[in-house]
Symmetry: C2
Amino acid sequence: MTIRKRRYAAPLEPVAGNGLLDRRALLGRGIMFAGAVSTGVGSSRTTAAADPLRDDPWSLETGAITPALQTPSRFEKDVVRILSNPNGEPRTSHARTPHHLLNGTITPNSLHFSINHSGIPDIDPDKHRLVIHGMVKQPLVFTVDSLARYPMVSRMAFVECAGNSAGMFSPQPLQASVQALHGLVSNAEWTGVPLSTLLEETGIDPKAIWMIAEGADSLALSRSLPVKKALDDAMVALYQNGERIMPGNGYPMRLVLPGWEGNMQVKFLRRLKLTDQPGMTYFETRTYSQILPNGKAYRFYFVNEVKSFITHPSFGQALKEPGYYEISGIAYSGSGRIAKVMVSADGGKSWAQAALQEPVQSKAFTRFRVPWRWDGQPAILQSRAWDEAGNVQPLRAQFVAERGEAAKVPSPLGFANQHYNSLTSWAIDSKGEIKHVYA
Amino acid sequence: MTIRKRRYAAPLEPVAGNGLLDRRALLGRGIMFAGAVSTGVGSSRTTAAADPLRDDPWSLETGAITPALQTPSRFEKDVVRILSNPNGEPRTSHARTPHHLLNGTITPNSLHFSINHSGIPDIDPDKHRLVIHGMVKQPLVFTVDSLARYPMVSRMAFVECAGNSAGMFSPQPLQASVQALHGLVSNAEWTGVPLSTLLEETGIDPKAIWMIAEGADSLALSRSLPVKKALDDAMVALYQNGERIMPGNGYPMRLVLPGWEGNMQVKFLRRLKLTDQPGMTYFETRTYSQILPNGKAYRFYFVNEVKSFITHPSFGQALKEPGYYEISGIAYSGSGRIAKVMVSADGGKSWAQAALQEPVQSKAFTRFRVPWRWDGQPAILQSRAWDEAGNVQPLRAQFVAERGEAAKVPSPLGFANQHYNSLTSWAIDSKGEIKHVYA
């Protein structure tokens, strides 16, 4: 096999600095690539006899037995979650999604991020109960089986920890993968019963404007939730990407609050108590109230704002040679659909609009893609997203001015600050190596 | 806890026989349910002190350690694929998706159906090659790494074996679950490179109208594919629901031909050879050419036609008591989007229109749902789907007249016939037990 002649002289002119091409080039018709090599056997007239393929060992023997549950290839053994507490010491356990090794928009259930503060409870679904009580007209108890008789809905939704991307508050850019930096967000199709349907069953005292959601984990993690969100798009979910929810994600049922911070989407949900005031629980007053540079705190700060990051190429990968690459990444917003993603290859001097994978769904991952021809010179890749509500990812200088870098009061969860939604920058040097930089 | 008073006097009148309700009732506002029980502690004025929840054992102890790859709860051990060849004897292995235990639209990768004729090859992705040659201008060799540099697309698509639902050709209705009857279809988000992009790289001899796709399994399964489909929506897929393709589904790369029968979507794809005629391969001439009652055969019969079946309730489940239930199921068409699904509870005498879960995507699963109030009397549930191309699922009498019941020539794969897309009927008796019937 011989290296194929490169065809750099593509008819498409760059639309932004450092070789960003028009997103319409993704549809083909004009762009030339450098990924393939010639078979070395010439044109069609001469290949009829020559066969460029050898038989590999796996083509010469019967393969493995089909298992009841299939798992990834042994060659994908590195595609796992990074664990912060692999030995289960008595503290919080984080498991981060390897976004740099995935593509598309769905996070497979095995790789959905999870955070548990007191381990993963082993819940018998036949014994688990959900109670809705407090300021309701008729308190009710639901089992998994009784919930399964109610009208259901399915929707794609991302779940993101408020502390995702906490490393981005570091004064110096951490040399870490997109998994380590941004792995506390994932995206799945959730199926369950709209909470509004259940509240219609119980009735609501007009004075009830909050409810306290409590989990069946041994810490009984609880958060206060406005009734208004419960009546909007909240769901008591039973299924995650088609199957029952993973144990680490809330089996047998969890609250799904599309677009709101993950810890409020209470897992192992066992109680919703309607009240006329918030509960001021441990997790909402101490853990998830971030301290600002001016000494005040965000309290009841629920929405995960518009955000994006590039997954390919990113830290830990390397470009082997100049030529065509696809830049792609993930964008999402707790306020609705992604409206636009712009990508820069020159550290923000110029921008090209990315293609968005259809269908673009509200409060869910949107994969964006931009064609790029790397000329072998240093480049800095960034993405910046807008949502349909008109929000835009803040530039880093603006973000740091408002929100500070390292937090003044480290949280007991071990992260420095919360709700990072500014840009991520990957610097590519002339060798094709990738570093994390602030730009 | 006391059984809650039933509120049968819902304001919504049925829209079809045996208690089918208007699909708009799924949005709430008026429908009453019977699934929940009272907490037994009275109204909101008295519940403040009483707590209806006891602490279960899992709420009293630290939970399990977070794993690198999470797996379902041990209480979901029955949610597995049914295997036709669990000991890996030298014959075809089928693994069927448990649709009656799933909900939503996505099939998790662990449960995606698979059929392999000579086991599952253990392919080293760094050594695997895809060759496109034959009647092309420039034959090319692609590695996994080189493919990953090309522009990608993601799309939801069902894959269905031509022999799915073969049991429905039985003269007597088989008493079997929706998994056993219809488990050879699944739905996933596939991400990869449009085949049209790769063919633009190689160029195509204008005389080439077919290509032969070959897998790297030890049988070198091969099928002939019109160039027209390759230039339409075919994809060389690398990812399945976000992660690399499962070994049983074609790792490290497979052809995805949205809407076409599964065996053509060649797994372990290693060769595309462009030709001016079809290959008349073993699998297209012997295995996948179904014999018709008139003695002729369907040859090059590619599209999986519009189809639907009810998954909840279905065989193997039981209704414990009269009252409200949701009827839901899956609809799909190889010709585009699902346009409409009608549901009957009286064996086809009257029909109600189902709600379709948005977004309805082309050549992908669409979940349909209908609210239903069961009065405890016998009922026969059926669904019937239409697609945007105007196709409709044929009624069973019409289908059997055209296509026969048991095939005259059993196929070597062990199924009686192919491309079943007529109705499935579940009969519910007064005890709530469910049987498979022809109606």
